[in-house]
């Protein structure tokens, strides 16, 4: 398999991680917490989408929208119940609460849904491009024939739509501008009349919507089970911090970097050690936190 194919896989992974990472990093920047239950928001989105697609006579795209709405709803309900009341206690209690909530949710989903993995019923067309030359360098094929499926293209396409929408939201709407103001300097934003609790609620909803979408896209690529989202949480976290915690644009960049690094390391690692690719992603995360905690875009510098 040529490097090109690996990079394509990386771009696809990067796409659904990017969608989730935007939501995750907005929560970090505006609510000031690392939400370790965020993976469960993806999982719930995947389940809601699956339920909508199978139980109701609606086409898949509509089911995706239902999943996104469901994700937003779940997010705001959980936030109001668990996070908003302890908003003032500081980043560590919020992180610990999210860890406990994540465990409870994950296992509750397991109890309700059982252990069986479920699948989205989709038909995918595969587009093959075999005529590309291999361009070998040593034992590595730089290019080589590759393929993409229509599902994968939809993932990437959705991501691009999301990026444009988010950019529009943050630059052209009142809510979005207020979000950016709060992310930069909360007390200043409050002084200028921004209703901080309302904006926080909006961020929760937005993050939930993004998580729902990402969860469905992820589930279409893999499957739906209680740990679908949890298996991605560290990658999402890595992407957000790598790109600069709090910055949605950084999160996009970080996500694609993580996706490509994961794909390339899976390609280069000896067989049987594929699981190390996630270890490599975490090692990069640690490196970033130690060397430049403000990440690539360097928007947030939080001293110890």
């Amino acid at each position: 398999m040529g490097l090109l194919q690996n990079i394509i896989f990386g771009v696809i992974t990067g796409s659904y991680i990017a969608i989730a990472a935007i939501g995750f990093t907005l929560i970090y920047g505006i609510v000031n917490m690392i939400n370790f239950a965020y993976g469960e928001y993806l999982t719930l989105g995947a389940f809601i989408g699956l339920f909508a697609a199978t139980a109701l006579p609606i086409p898949l795209p509509v089911a995706v929208l239902v999943a996104m709405a469901g994700g937003g709803l779940v997010s705001i309900v959980l936030a109001r119940a668990f996070f908003t009341p302890i908003n003032q206690t500081g980043p560590v209690p919020l992180l610990l609460t999210s860890i406990g909530l994540g465990i409870a949710l994950r296992n509750a989903i397991r109890l309700v849904a059982g252990r069986q993995a479920r699948y989205y019923d989709t038909e995918a067309t595969t587009f093959r491009f075999d005529a590309i030359p291999d361009l070998s360098v040593g034992s590595v094929d730089l290019l080589g024939g590759f393929f993409v499926t229509s599902e994968q293209l939809i993932v990437v396409g959705s991501a691009v739509v999301v990026f444009i929408a988010i950019h529009g939201l943050l630059t052209r709407t009142d809510v979005g501008i207020a979000m950016r103001a709060m992310g930069d300097n909360e007390s200043l934003a409050r002084v200028r009349g921004v209703d901080t609790q309302l904006i926080r609620d909006s961020v929760w909803i937005l993050a939930g919507v993004l998580a729902g979408l990402s969860g469905v896209l992820l589930a279409i690529q893999t499957n739906v089970n209680a740990t679908t989202g949890f298996s991605e949480i560290l990658q999402i976290l890595s992407a957000a911090i790598l790109g600069g915690a709090g910055s949605p644009y950084g999160a996009i960049l970080g996500a694609y970097l993580i996706g490509i690094i994961l794909a390339l390391s899976t390609a280069f690692l000896p067989s049987g050690m594929g699981g190390l690719s996630s270890a490599i992603a975490f090692a990069i995360l640690i490196l970033v936190l130690l060397v430049k905690p403000s990440g690539i875009t360097g928007t947030e510098v939080r001293e110890a």
Binding site: V92, P93, L111, R115, I241, A304
Partner: protein, 347 residues
Amino acid sequence: MSALDRIPSGNGDLALLAGVFCFLIGGLFVLTPLQVQLPNMFYVFVEVGILFVIYGLLVLGLDLQYGHTGLVNFGHVAFFAVGAYGTAMLSAQDTFVGIGLGYPWPLALGVGVVAAAVVGLGVSATSIRLRGDFLAIVTLATAEILHSIFVNFEGVFGGNVGILGVPRPIAALVSQADTRLIATLLVLGGITLVGLAGVTRLTSAPYGRVLRAIRADELVTRSVGKSTVTYKTQAFVYGAALAGLAGGLFALYNGAVAPGFFTIQVTVTVWIGMLLGGAANHRAVLAGLSIIMGIRLVSRFALTVTPVPSDVFASIRLVVVGLILVAVIRYRPAGIWGDAQELGVDR
């Protein structure tokens, strides 16, 4: 002088006495033909009890790091694993896959503890200055990386099967099953009590005062002349060493180590035990841990009487445990026995 005055004496000494006593009684069972009969229904108690005292060393180490010094270590299981794997790999004799060098177990145990301490030193040297939640993420990621390495480098660590054929010193000397179990509980329990004594002595001395000051405000502590980085590093390394000791003891009790024993669940269990009991109070965190382990015990009992599959029970237990963590942080951040003013959570 009021009752709040912590004069260096008191419960540390009691723990030391009790620890040595248990250790000696346990030793008696191991070395002499003395036997014990254990009614079947108590088996589960003793087995969970053994796990409790091993985890007890973990929670004491974590309490030193977080309860006293304020270091948010969410990768504690990593030190547990390093101690266990280190001890196992050095002493195992016939492991199916992976390295087993067959050295005497006391040496292996010592190496395991030192290895865990060295890893602790490495982590603290790089990360001790990070903000609380970032330190949590770094330590968590470190634990995940180690787990991944243990699973993936099969030739060295035995992959998912792990290292087998680790010597079991007590089992080797005691053939009768009941006595073996009780002796193990007493010996390991004794070690944990001695650990409790050591940690208590440290924290009730002026040393503990510096740690608590660091937790309260590091800059002020530096301004009165204390090298806070040194103390933070020491607290972290001591905690890691205790976890490494727990790991080595676990390996020598279990006879085998595998990645499945060293998941984030262990870290979470120990954290919840600490927060539930009351961080910064060594006896309280052990009590909190005992409650969490008690829930595990109850679920094991319930398993035998209800027709529910075991993984369903595990999930129910985990839902409860997760909710306990959330509830403790929200409603009783100082835990059941902790001091709210001491921990700064009296709002």
